[in-house]
């Protein structure tokens, strides 16, 4: 199945926003066995959209469009599509009822523009959008498929996952492509590739291995294609298992698992409650942990000690520790860990203090210097890492490191209990 992507919106052409939708869609479609023949962005003008659509249909079986479906008048995708197919627009009462319920639920009132939004091309199959007011639209013509979705990322993602990809798979049943993704944390891409060398040579030609690094985590994706689906699934399981054995404790999960969820499971198994004490990450670490549904089962809370005053008063960090070693030091994070355990009556605590930047660096402790400590009532382990120069990346990177530090600590505890 050949797919072409079109993003509609002047905001992309003036460089005000980066088109992240296309890259997300390309990833999902590749996983579904599609081949992307091109990606293009066009402005909110009728002629442009129509021309892009025609050109795209010459190069693909499926054209997926995002953007231009909102209630304001700069959104003209729908009108253009109706013209393109030579059909009219028709008021769709169920969509209007959904919008009314949606706004009632929000305690807000609708406007005439929302009514306007419910006029749909008569040949469209509407795709449910649980995340917003504008439904997606599915069109079929001459054996080809054209889909139009809103440009808001989470609305597009919802419609893609729940409607578009399942429908495309039914519409274009192709030769099976299957994937296994092995999730690792704690080593860089090249170090992992080194350890995988001999295993990579063993792979049959119809199974490919790709490394997908991101902020301290590397995903290893096996992609296999073969006529006989069943054998392929078994083969992929076999090699995935070999990779897991080869990489040992670097592997924290499979597929779409998340590091923070895997830690949650370990905590639940061990019957332990976690807390965090954060300075430079400013709550991002707690956010990652609590982004997992049900995290209240193993996460009690956090002290964000952005000021030294909070470090001293709430976390019991000694004034002389801060004076002698500074807020970004092994001693401070160790005391933060002990303080958090005592204050919040927790089993495990992770503390983090560093220089996120852009200011605050020194020759001794440059921007990106981060101290971590993890511990329980008996012991505290510490570690220093160096992140980069970008504030937000430093916050994210050091939070992932902190999660992995907790994971390693829990693995140790588990082993100690078994032996």
């Amino acid at each position: 199945m050949k797919v072409h992507l079109i993003t509609v919106g002047d905001e992309i052409l003036i460089g005000q926003i980066i088109d992240t939708n296309s890259s997300w869609m390309a990833r999902q479609l590749n996983l579904a066995g599609a081949h992307i023949t091109g990606i293009r962005s066009v402005g909110d003008q009728e002629g442009n959209i129509e021309q892009a659509l025609e050109e795209a249909l010459n190069q693909a079986d499926v054209v997926l469009m995002t953007g231009g479906l909102g209630p304001t008048k700069d959104d003209i995708t729908k009108k253009t599509l109706a013209q393109f197919f030579g059909v009219g627009l028709e008021f769709h009462q169920p969509t209007y009822d959904r919008i009314l319920r949606f706004f009632e639920h929000l305690g807000r009132s609708t406007t005439p523009a929302h009514r306007q939004q419910c006029y749909m091309p008569t040949n469209a199959t509407l795709l449910l959008n649980k995340m917003g007011t504008a439904p997606g639209m599915w069109f079929e013509q001459d054996g080809k498929v054209i889909v139009s979705m809103p440009g808001v990322p989470y609305e597009m993602e919802y419609i893609m996952e729940h409607e578009v990809i399942p429908r495309l798979k039914r519409f274009f049943p192709g030769s099976p492509i299957a994937h296994r993704t092995i999730l690792t944390v704690g080593e860089g891409e090249s170090k992992i590739a080194e350890r995988m060398e001999s295993l990579e040579e063993e792979l049959p030609p119809h199974i490919k291995l790709a490394y997908l690094p991101n902020l301290g985590q590397v995903r290893l994706r096996l992609t296999g294609s073969q006529a006989d689906g069943d054998a392929l699934e078994q083969e992929l399981d076999f090699y995935a298992q070999k990779i897991r054995e080869q990489l040992g404790a670097l592997v924290f999960g499979m597929g779409t698992d998340r590091l923070e969820a895997s830690i949650g499971r370990m905590l639940e198994e061990q019957g332990k409650m976690l807390v965090t004490a954060e300075s430079c990450t400013g709550g991002y670490l707690a956010h990652l942990i609590t982004s997992v549904p049900g995290s209240s089962n193993y996460f009690k809370g956090s002290i964000i000690a952005y000021s030294n005053e909070v470090k001293m008063k709430q976390l019991n960090v000694k004034p002389q520790t801060l004076e002698t070693y500074g807020a970004v030091s092994e001693q401070t994070v160790a005391e933060m860990t002990r303080g958090a355990i005592g204050l919040l009556d927790a089993d495990v605590a992770i503390a983090i203090s560093g220089i996120a930047g852009p200011g605050g660096g020194s020759p001794d402790k440059p921007v990106g210097t981060i101290w971590l400590a993890v511990g329980n009532r008996e012991k505290v382990l510490t570690r220093r890492i160096y992140a980069g120069k970008d504030r937000l990346k430093n916050i994210e990177y050091s939070s992932v490191h902190a999660l992995n530090f907790v994971r390693q600590f829990l693995l140790q505890e588990q082993e100690a209990k078994i032996s």
Copy 2:
């Protein structure tokens, strides 16, 4: 001057990297008065590149291509261009000398592929690339311009700034384009559009208005093009000011400002220290605040009270409040606010407690029910909002709402002080 951008590279079509080059180029070109008629990404195949080039030349005076100029064998842009123009490739000694010097400087040796890289289409004007080995190439044909640049962002940026944009300005001395972006929070796109109706009708035909919504925030973008640059800037300022007046306190900033930064400035001006007390947002609100460099000047820290125990012990929420009204209630967030101010000795506190989902909802308090409280030592204001069903979106949406609640509180304080 109409410009079309083409990015070459399979890595974009499989979603492995996001095309940030195009957005950077679009911004620079818009500032230089260009109108971008489209952006497209194509794979590393000859036919694709040639087709994209032909289609692009139909829609623009200038086509800028990036990618496909490196020494490895999947890079075929140069060969395709020579074929497209019907010319041959010629060895370019000065470029080879530069590469030799470059590698000598790095203390590394060149490979045969680097010699190969120095064959250039005979009709190309070479553009100096101080950041790497592959020069840019400038072609002119039938009054149109085609430029090919390497895809490495800092190499492309160097060639754009030093060569392409100055040359384009000389080649197409044209009419300027300018923008103003007005940032709002607290109302949806359609409500804002309603309030803007008469103002929109006043806009002259050469000034367009677009609405760009995202999670509780809406950006309004004015785009103007006109022969007389000076008058255009003044006109845009005039209408931007009118929009600001029309939308009043919904506007928190202009351009690339951020809500969390605007609150930071207000806190600094008022000499106040902020803290947060978070339940359902689990640290995300504190993360937004601390994502701003220098936020330690006005942010002390936070208590993430994910468990009721932390709400009671640290934030002094009364057990009977939790029993009678529940953790997601007006009474609880009010007590959390007072507790946070007292505990962390702050001037302003914002508290948030809600049902992020997917579990924990009830007919009485469905998933997405969020209570907010903001206050100081004298008073506490509360507000209930309804977000959606998606856990992560609820966390983000309610955090933006909380930031806006703080902003409104600080605005009130400011006014009270003035009057």
